[in-house]
């Protein structure tokens, strides 16, 4: 199995990010990329065909008129191993998708190939947040909080000022901060909690509801406004609901006109491939780049976090012992 295709496949195992356009389901993108990669892999030159030994009989006229029979041993290629007969070498490729994006939203979507799927699981378990840019519009309310849904209500929005909006955003962020401390399983009155909070590296421990770890207003031009969020364990629907709630808090209503993910863990917008670039060589290059940056990144990060979790566990054990 030393063929060139296998060698190419080894170089393909890893993570890369694509830019998902709005209005497309992520499954369609995954399937399209799988087909592209399979096409690239199978177009690699096949192994040299296996030969079989055949004996070709030959009849030669001897010098004295007698015939002489000889057999010549030759090697003939076996057609049974031709790629057109056996089918392509790679028929299926394991392409996994990181944190999903629904059809309405767009942005960075992380995909993993082959062994990269294990790294994908690591990425999900690592304590990273995701950045979103969410666009909203005041004055409307729909059933599914997006501007394409069925219209429920129209409201006025003249009374809203940027100060109002920022006050409401601060309030929402406060309540989320509180939830973050609750779910990070750390004693609020400890020194450790203080240090983590100062560094901004508090992270929910285990399962948690969606939490916004950061929220700010990027632009405010009534009726349009843009928010930037950092979140954990979110879905895009939750983000649209946040926009809806912002509208309600401001004594108006708001719908979400676009959700765009600008960062997923270490994958930023710069590294994401737009749909013209979803070809085999470009994906291979992107995977190589990401592996390079991953290797540079990994030795630094996990140490403090591991310590923290250990401490927490020890503390819990101690508590259990006292009980």
């Amino acid at each position: 199995m030393g063929s060139r295709a296998v060698w190419m496949f080894r170089g393909l195992e890893g993570l890369f990010a694509v830019y998902k356009p709005p209005g497309v389901h992520w499954k369609l993108i995954r399937d399209g990329i799988e087909t592209n990669l399979l096409k690239g892999l199978n177009s690699a030159p096949p192994l040299e065909p296996r030969k079989q030994i055949a004996f070709l009989p030959e009849i030669r006229e001897g010098s004295d008129g007698s015939t002489e029979l000889t057999l010549t041993a030759t090697r003939l290629p076996i057609l049974a191993n031709h790629p057109l007969v056996t089918g392509p070498q790679f028929k299926k490729l394991h392409v996994g998708v990181g944190h999903r994006l629904d059809a309405f939203s767009s942005g960075v979507l992380v995909l993993g190939v082959g062994q990269g799927n294990k790294m994908l699981a690591d990425l999900c378990n690592s304590q990273t947040t995701r950045d979103y840019t969410v666009e909203g519009e005041f004055g409307l309310a729909t059933e599914d909080f997006s501007h394409t849904g069925r219209l429920v209500e129209r409201t006025t929005y003249d009374h809203i000022t940027q100060d109002d909006l920022e006050r409401v955003l601060g309030m929402i962020q406060g309540s989320n901060q509180k939830a973050l401390i609750t779910y990070s399983n750390i004693d609020l009155s400890s020194q450790q909690a203080y240090e983590l909070a100062v560094k901004g590296s508090l992270y929910p421990h285990g399962k948690s509801p969606p939490i916004l770890t950061g929220l700010r207003c990027l632009s405010f031009k009534p009726p349009y406004f843009t928010l930037e969020m950092q979140c954990v364990n979110e879905t895009q629907r939750v983000l649209r609901r946040v926009v809806h709630e912002v509208g309600l808090e401001l004594r108006s209503t708001a719908v979400c006109t676009g959700v765009r993910r600008t960062r997923d863990g270490p994958f930023s917008l710069q590294a994401a491939l737009t749909h013209k670039h979803w070809s085999f060589p470009e994906i291979t290059e992107a995977i190589r780049q990401s592996q390079f940056s991953w290797r540079k990144r990994t030795p630094k990060e996990p140490q403090p976090q591991n310590k923290n979790t250990e401490k927490v566990r020890m503390k819990r054990k101690g508590a259990a012992g006292q009980d």
């Binding site: 055949a54 004996f55 009989p57 030959e58 041993a73 056996t86 737009t274 013209k276």
Partner: protein, 379 residues
């Protein structure tokens, strides 16, 4: 017990390739004298003279080996025309004995064509042509069809296709798509080509149509006539224009007609085009007839209602009904989205659609390709 399981079993059963003993394509090459004996014999001979020296390497046949017992003979030899049935007691000389090829018997049924490829002249010819046997054997009944096919039949069909002007690299994909063309009689095939020629399609056009729509020649003359008539009647086109759209998009003749009817109704009732406008659009872009109905209405909705392009302008540039969303948004972002020919800064819609990305960026948007890509990441 359950009907589902039964069905699956039957399907599995059907997928197998059957070999009935009589395969004219399986050709034991007597003339070309290729002899493979059993493995034990090979091993015995390999031990004799060391391989490597060229002239001395000629192996002298051992009479005990060449006069192999008859049960080793494949059953297929009996089916070969011209080969007289051999009796086990007949005396044969060395030369004759050498001609006898003791191939391992072909399996009566096999999961794939792999087991037959090396011994069937037809299949190996197909592989050399570039026909994907692995795809064909997945289709029901096609494996057995190919095995039953004679070399002569294959040659006739290939020569016929060559006469239509098809080049060798086109034949492989064509036969991969439609292997049933090999089972049609030559008389039928000729009649269909003659029919198309009588409708004043040129022969090279017929060839290119066949290569783009491989099932074209599997349709009977009656059916082809019906379908050509359908397009001519439905669109009220002149014979010349019908010929034109069919030549440009031959899959119109092979596909289902129902979606075409639906698309025309959608154009007329939902999108509000007049019949003569539809005629013009269809003759410019026949692809719209087979487009997805939902997609078509969505694109029209975007072009007409969001971009604000009138019906008249769409009719003038029907290619605007293909996807142009990203480019329009980019131009709008740059403040250059102006498609009205009466106003300054006019950009023709057809160029907007048809130009490749690089030319679009430098000619219409006067921006760099990187800018366009960065913009795509903000959508």
């Amino acid at each position: 017990m359950d009907p589902k399981g039964k069905k699956r079993k039957m399907a599995e059963h059907d997928d197998r390739v059957y070999y009935n003993g009589f395969i004219s394509g399986v050709c034991v090459r007597l003339g070309q004298s290729r002899a493979v004996r059993r493995y034990s014999d090979l091993v015995g001979e390999e031990q004799g003279p060391t391989p490597g020296d060229s002239e001395e390497n000629r192996l002298i046949p051992n009479p005990a080996l060449t006069e192999l017992p008859f049960p080793n003979l494949p059953a297929s030899q009996e089916g070969l025309d011209g080969a007289p049935p051999l009796s086990p007691f007949e005396e044969i000389c060395d030369e004759e004995a050498l001609q006898i090829v003791a191939l391992p018997p072909l399996p009566p049924s096999a999961p794939s064509l792999r087991d037959y490829v090396d011994q069937s002249e037809t299949l190996s010819t197909l592989v050399h042509l570039g026909v994907d046997l692995s795809k064909l054997q997945a289709r029901r009944g096609v494996g057995s069809l190919l095995l039953r096919l004679g070399l002569k039949d294959l040659q006739d069909r290939l020569l016929f296709l060559r006469d239509l002007g098809l080049q060798e690299p086109q034949l492989g994909p064509l036969l991969t798509h439609n292997p049933f063309i090999l089972t049609e009689t030559l008389h039928n095939l000729r009649a269909r080509v003659l029919y198309l020629q009588s409708k004043r399609f040129r022969l090279e056009d017929v060839g290119s149509m066949v290569s783009r729509a491989p099932y074209l020649l599997s349709f009977s003359v009656q059916r082809l006539d019906n379908r050509l008539g359908f397009y001519q009647r439905l669109l009220q086109l002149s014979p010349h224009k019908t010929r034109d759209i069919v030549t440009r998009l031959p899959r119109l003749l092979c596909g289902s007609l129902e979606p075409v009817k639906e698309n025309l109704k959608v154009c007329e009732l939902e999108l509000g085009f007049r019949p003569n406008e539809i005629q013009h659009i269809v003759t410019t872009i026949p692809k719209l007839l087979t487009a997805n109905k939902k997609r078509l209405t969505e694109t029209f909705n975007y072009v007409h209602n969001t971009m604000g392009i009138s019906h008249a302008l769409i009719v003038k540039f029907p290619s605007s009904l293909l996807c142009i969303r990203e480019r329009h948004l980019f131009l709008r972002y740059l403040g250059k989205a102006q498609y009205d020919p009466a106003l300054p800064g006019y950009l023709p819609l057809d160029r907007l659609v048809s130009l490749p990305d690089r030319e679009f960026c430098c000619q219409l948007a006067s921006a760099s390709l990187q800018d366009f890509e960065l913009f795509q990441k903000t959508l």
